[in-house]
Symmetry: C2
DNA sequence: CGATTCTTTGAAAACAGTCAATCTGTGTGG
DNA sequence: CCACACAGATTGACTGTTTTCAAAGAATCG
């Protein structure tokens, strides 16, 4: 599992073997079966999670029992509940595997210490957060200026492979539209 | 203008007078009249902007000429076009003063250098970005799980003073609903 | 005051959500 | 290997929400 993690870091910045060993030492590996939780609403989230293989989703359940997906996280991306992580409050989100997955968890304290010790890591994480911010902003933008159909088009462009990996009703949930509406959009587009 | 900026930093972390002097040295002050642009679509954004007084908005204009507001930035907050800042591409957003405003601009290179030199500043900016990320995530969440009326309610809770400072149609634009719908929601709520 | 900007209101049309039924494909246990 | 259950996708009819366009009323500013 660590080879993937190592390859990821080295594609981003130069990391010495000792530095990586320091990361590896505090990392926790976890294998998830499809539908298994990585985090459940109500628990406190204290990690940074890197997905080596598979796909996990972060979602919330409203009063009516409906799920709303805030993030899909495929391999080579990071996930977690940043609100719970920062504030220490119970998580409002669930994180669950959409496929059998392999995940590396790094405890918050350890990662914060490493960030201080390794400036290159600190800079990288800043860039990463910046890019995450931009992509969230694009999503807000898409939500406020597009119709359901345009949002779906943009989703396909932004995440071309996702449509093959997750059921349609989850894409609908991610976009904030009903599964039926998405089905109609798709049949409409074909013509 | 710098007193406000200085007070802001000192409320966040301890900053020596020399450190602040280093910041002040590279900072550019700018006064904006209401409706004056700070950034126009197409230009490249190369600053971090701190609003000392007033209120600015960041928005985008679609093909039909409609404006979509992505951020309101009141005094003591930061603004800018992070996409253009990071990539060096032309901005897709406009930034414009909603009120007469006073803004401090710090050029990108200088700020990056200062971030390296002053670890406390670096940590603070990381926290700031993290909090911005969380609030954007809350907004996405609100967009995908709430109706227009619920989104408006949440807006009032999240930004209680904003409703008095900006025209209603801008709030509608921020929420991604039409000005007419917002007007109807408001008259409906009164009863 | 006159001009502009902002808000409200009405009526029609477009859009999206809900509920219920049906259809499809997949995988599991007998 | 089949039958069945189950999750997912589609479709139809209906309801409800939101947009659009147009017009008229406030409010604000020079």
């Amino acid at each position: 599992m660590f080879e993937i993690f190592y390859a990821y870091f080295n594609s981003k910045f130069v990391l010495s073997q000792e530095d990586f060993a320091a990361i590896e030492q505090v990392a926790i590996t976890r294998k998830l079966r499809k539908r298994q939780y990585l985090l459940q609403q109500g628990d406190v989230w204290k990690y940074d999670a890197f997905v080596c293989k598979g796909l996990v989703r972060t979602y919330r359940v409203d009063e009516k029992g409906q799920e709303h997906i805030i993030q899909f996280c495929p391999e080579n991306w990071w996930t977690g509940d940043r609100h719970s992580y920062v504030t220490g409050e119970p998580a409002r989100y669930n994180i669950e595997a959409c496929e059998d997955s392999e995940v590396i968890l790094i405890p918050k304290q350890d990662f914060q210490r490493l960030r201080m010790q390794l400036p290159a890591l600190g800079n990288f994480l800043y860039d990463l957060l910046e890019r995450s911010f931009i992509s969230l902003q694009n999503r807000v933008n898409s939500n406020i200026m597009h119709t359901a159909e345009e949002k779906y088009d943009q989703f396909l462009k932004t995440y071309p492979d996702m449509a093959n990996r997750v059921p349609q009703h989850m894409i609908a949930s991610f976009l904030g539209i009903s599964a039926e509406t998405l089905s109609r959009i798709r049949s409409h587009v074909k013509k």
